[in-house]
C-alpha cells in the first residue's frame, strides 16, 4: 500500500498504519528497520498533516526509552507535540537524540519540522537548547505536506526566531517557511515578516541575504505559475484560494525586498564619500521611512522619501 502511494487509501487506513508504529520502532531497535522505513514512507506518501491516530500520542512519551535515537528523530514529526505540554524533558531527550544522529536530508527534515512544532507550543519552547536552532541553517527541504511549516508561520514562532538575533537563523527560517506548498496563514506573522525585512535585512552586508530571499521568492512564484493542478500532485489539500493567497503574499514580500534594495541603493548614492555605516532602516508605514546612520561614533537619523 505504501509503495502504491495511493494517498486516499493511506489516509483511510491511517489508524491501522499507525498501530504498527510501536512494533516497527521496536524492530528498528533490534536491527530490522524495514517496517519503520515503510511507516515513514507511508506517512509521507499519505500527504496528511496528522497521519498518526490520536491513540498513539500517549506512546510518544515512551519513545526515548523504546526507540533508537535515529528512530526517535524520524518518528518525532508524527508526535502531536501540542498535546504534550508537560513534557519538557521529552524535548530535551529529543534534542539529545537529534545531536547523536548523523546528519542526512531525512534527519534534517524531521528535526526542523519538529523544531517548528515545538516552538509553537509555549510550554515547550523554553526547553529547546539554543544550539538546536543551527539545524535551520542547514536548510533541509521540507516535504510538501509538513505540519512544522504550517505551525511555523505563526506569529509567536516568528517572534521566537527573531528573538535569537541571529540573521543566519532568521534568513534560513524564512527560506524554509516561504514555500509554494502553503501561504502564511497568520496575518500578524506576515506583517512581522515585512517589518523584519526592513529592520534586519537592510543594513550593510545584507545584500547577499536579500538576494537569497529574492531568489527563493522568484522560485516560489515560478512554481506557482505552473498552476494548481501541478501543485496538487504533491499537496492535494491546496485549493484555488490557497494559490491566490500564496501569489499575493509572496509577491508582496518580494516587493518589500525590492523596495529595501532600492532604498539601500539611494542611500549609498546619498552618502558616496563618507565612511558612514548604515545600521538599519526603520519602516513606519507605506510612505514614512527613516534610516539610522552611524558617523564618527554618533548616530544620525535620516528620513527617506
Amino acid at each position: 500500500m505504501a509503495k502504491a502511494e495511493d494517498y486516499h487509501q493511506l489516509q483511510s487506513k491511517r489508524k491501522a498504519i499507525t498501530t504498527l508504529l510501536p512494533y516497527a520502532v521496536r524492530l528498528e531497535k533490534d536491527g530490522q528497520p524495514d517496517m519503520l522505513n515503510t511507516f515513514i514512507h507511508a506517512a509521507r506518501a499519505s500527504k496528511e498533516w496528522e497521519l498518526t491516530w490520536h491513540h498513539t500520542w500517549k506512546y510518544a512519551k515512551k519513545l526515548p526509552h523504546k526507540a533508537s535515537p535515529h528512530a526517535f528523530v524520524l518518528v518525532s514529526p508524527h508526535v502531536r507535540w501540542y498535546l504534550l505540554t508537560d513534557s519538557g524533558d521529552l524535548v530535551q531527550q529529543w534534542a539529545a537524540a537529534a545531536s547523536a544522529v548523523p546528519y542526512t536530508e531525512e534527519v534534517g527534515q524531521s528535526v526542523v519540522d519538529v523544531l517548528l512544532q515545538i516552538v509553537e507550543v509555549d510550554e515547550l519552547a523554553p526547553y529547546i537548547p539554543t544550539d538546536m536552532w543551527s539545524w535551520l541553517i542547514r536548510q533541509p527541504s521540507l516535504p510538501p505536506v509538513c505540519y512544522g511549516r504550517v505551525v511555523g508561520s505563526h506569529a509567536h514562532v516568528f517572534r521566537a526566531v527573531r528573538a535569537l538575533k541571529d540573521i543566519e537563523v532568521l534568513k534560513s527560517y524564512l527560506l524554509l517557511v516561504w514555500s509554494e506548498w502553503g501561504y502564511i496563514q497568520d496575518g500578524k506573522c506576515f506583517d512581522a515578516m515585512c517589518a523584519s525585512i526592513w529592520k534586519y535585512f537592510s543594513g550593510n552586508g545584507m545584500g547577499g541575504h536579500r538576494a537569497e530571499l529574492i531568489q527563493r521568492l522568484d522560485h516560489i512564484l515560478g512554481q506557482l505559475d505552473w498552476g494548481l493542478e501541478h501543485l496538487k500532485e504533491h499537496n492535494p489539500q491546496l485549493g484555488r484560494y490557497d494559490l491566490w493567497r500564496m501569489k499575493s503574499q509572496y509577491r508582496e514580500l518580494r516587493e518589500v525586498l525590492l523596495e529595501v534594495e532600492r532604498c539601500m541603493f539611494s542611500l549609498i548614492l546619498s552618502f558616496p564619500h563618507t565612511d558612514s555605516k548604515l545600521n538599519t532602516i526603520q519602516w513606519f508605514g507605506e510612505d514614512v521611512c527613516q534610516c539610522v546612520v552611524s558617523s564618527s561614533g554618533t548616530e544620525v537619523i535620516v528620513p527617506l522619501l
Binding site: M1, K13, K15, A16, I17, T18, T19, L20, P22, Y23, R26, W53, H55, T56, Y59, K62, K66
Partner: protein
C-alpha cells in the same frame, strides 16, 4: 441367578463394627473382585446364555429339517435373524464406542483392533487411509447413497441401485489392477506420499467431547470449585475453532452473575470468588464472541443480551476489578452501550495465556467485523487492543503479536482466509 447372588453379597453393607473395620471389609471384597476377575465372569454369563440359545436354535433347526422342512425353515429364519441382529450390534459396538448396544465380543474386538492400530507402522496407516480414499469400491456406496432421492422407490433410485450393483464387480477389478501396484510402491517408499491429519481429527473429537462435558457440568453443578476448574479447562479448549452448545454462553454468564452483586452502577465481587469471576468473564467473552461469529442471530445470544440488560444498567462500572477490561469489551462489542464508548485498554496487562485467548478472540471478531462492516474497517476497540498490546513492555507472547499484526492486516484489507486462521489455531493447539 448365581450372578445375582454374588452381586447381593458384594453390595451388602456391614452394619456392625467401626467405620475403619467396615471400610476394611469393603476394601477386602473389592480386592477379591479384582483378584478373581469377577467382572469377566459376570460378563461371560450372558454370553454363555447367548451361545446356548444359538446352539439350541441350530440344533432345533437341524432336528426339524428331517421332521418338517417348512417348520425348520421358520425356526432357521428366526435364528438367522437373531444372528444377523447380533452381528450388526457387534459391528456397531466395535466401530462406535458411544454405541449403547455394547457386547463383550464388541469390546474385545475393539481392543484388538486398537492394539493392531497401535502396533502397525505409521506408513501402513497412511497407505490404507489413502487407498480407502481413492478406492472405487469405497466410493461407489457413498455415491449411491448421496444420489438417492425421495421417494425411495422412485425409478431413478432403482436404476441407480441396479447400476451400482452392476458396477461393483467392475470397480473391484479396477481397484485390484490399480491399487495393488500402488500398495507395493507406497510400502517401498520411505515417506508416505500423503499425510493424514489423524492427530488433529482426534484432537478435535476430544475437544468436542470435552465441551459437552463442560456444558453438562456447568448445567448441573452448584459447586464453585467445580465451576472454577471446569471454566479453566474451557479456557484451554477455546483456542480451537469448534462448534459448541450455545447454552455454554448462558452457563458462563450464570456463573459470572453468581459471583457478583450489582449495587446501582457498581459491581461488587463476593469475597473469595475473585478468580472464578475473572475466569468466567473471560470464558463468557470467548464463548459469546465465538457464537457471535458463528451465528449472530442465535437465540442464545439474544437471551444472554436480554438477561445482561436486565441485570446491568447501561452505564455500569466494572472499573477496579480484574475482569474490568473483559467485561467492558463485552459491553461495548455485544451490548453496544453509549456509556462505554470511551473505554480504553489502558493498563491492561494480563497473564500470557489470557492475553493469547483475548487476542485470538479479537482477531476472529476483527475478521467478522470487517466482513460485516462492508470490508471497510475492523471495530476500533479491536485495533486499539492491537496498538496497546504492541506497545507493551516487555512484548506479549508471540501468538499475541501474530494476532495483533493479523488484526492490522485485516484492517488494511489483506486477505487472511479461514485457512490462515486454522493455521494459527493449529499452532496454538500444539504450543505447550
Amino acid at each position: 441367578m448365581l450372578g445375582k447372588q454374588w452381586l447381593n453379597r458384594y453390595a451388602s453393607t456391614d452394619m456392625r463394627g467401626t467405620a475403619i473395620q467396615r471400610s476394611q471389609n469393603r476394601q477386602r471384597k473389592l480386592d477379591g473382585v479384582i483378584t478373581w476377575y469377577f467382572d469377566h465372569v459376570m460378563e461371560s454369563l450372558p454370553l454363555m446364555l447367548q451361545i446356548a440359545l444359538l446352539l439350541l436354535g441350530l440344533a432345533l433347526s437341524r432336528y426339524l429339517w428331517e421332521v418338517n422342512i417348512i417348520v425348520a425353515c421358520v425356526v432357521l429364519g428366526v435364528t438367522s435373524l437373531g444372528v444377523t441382529f447380533y452381528v450388526f450390534i457387534v459391528i456397531a459396538g466395535t466401530a462406535f464406542e458411544s454405541c449403547p448396544y455394547q457386547t463383550p465380543i464388541a469390546r474385545t474386538l475393539r481392543h484388538t483392533f486398537h492394539w493392531i492400530y497401535l502396533y502397525t507402522p505409521h506408513p501402513v496407516h497412511v497407505v490404507i487411509s489413502n487407498l480407502i480414499q481413492i478406492s472405487w469400491c469405497c466410493q461407489l456406496p457413498g455415491g449411491w447413497w448421496s444420489s438417492l432421492e425421495q421417494p425411495w422407490y422412485s425409478t431413478t433410485n432403482i436404476v441407480t441401485s441396479l447400476t451400482c450393483i452392476a458396477l461393483l464387480p467392475v470397480a473391484l477389478l479396477v481397484d485390484l489392477s490399480r491399487l495393488v501396484p500402488e500398495i507395493v510402491w507406497s510400502l517401498l517408499q520411505d515417506e508416505p506420499t500423503v499425510t493424514s491429519p489423524q492427530t488433529h481429527v482426534l484432537d478435535k473429537q476430544t475437544i468436542v467431547l470435552d465441551l459437552r462435558c463442560i456444558s453438562w457440568i456447568l448445567q448441573t453443578s452448584l459447586d464453585k470449585a467445580v465451576h472454577l476448574s471446569t471454566l479453566k479447562h474451557l479456557q484451554q479448549q477455546m483456542l480451537t475453532p469448534i462448534n459448541f452448545d450455545p447454552a455454554i454462553v448462558a452457563y458462563c454468564f450464570d456463573v459470572f452473575i453468581g459471583c457478583i452483586s450489582v449495587n446501582g452502577y457498581e459491581v461488587v465481587v463476593m469475597q473469595g470468588l475473585e478468580q472464578l469471576t475473572s475466569v468466567s468473564a473471560l470464558c463468557l467473552f470467548h464463548t459469546i464472541s465465538h457464537l457471535w461469529v458463528m451465528d449472530p442471530t442465535s437465540s442464545a445470544l439474544r437471551d444472554v443480551r436480554q438477561y445482561y440488560n436486565k441485570i446491568f444498567p447501561a452505564n455500569v462500572a466494572f472499573y477496579g476489578h480484574q475482569f474490568s477490561h473483559t467485561m467492558n469489551a463485552i459491553h461495548q462489542v455485544f451490548i453496544q452501550s453509549v456509556g462505554h464508548r470511551g473505554f480504553r485498554w489502558g493498563h491492561y496487562k494480563p497473564p500470557g495465556d489470557e492475553h493469547t485467548l483475548v487476542a485470538h478472540t479479537l482477531l476472529k471478531l476483527a475478521q467478522f467485523g470487517y466482513q460485516r462492516m462492508g470490508q471497510a474497517k475492523v471495530p476500533r476497540l479491536i485495533l486499539r487492543f492491537a496498538l496497546h498490546s504492541l506497545s507493551l513492555d516487555p512484548l506479549p507472547p508471540a501468538p499475541v503479536i501474530a494476532d495483533c499484526l493479523s488484526i492490522i492486516a485485516v484492517d488494511l484489507g489483506c486477505d487472511i482466509s479461514d485457512t490462515g486462521a486454522m493455521t494459527l489455531d493449529e499452532r496454538y493447539v500444539h504450543t505447550p
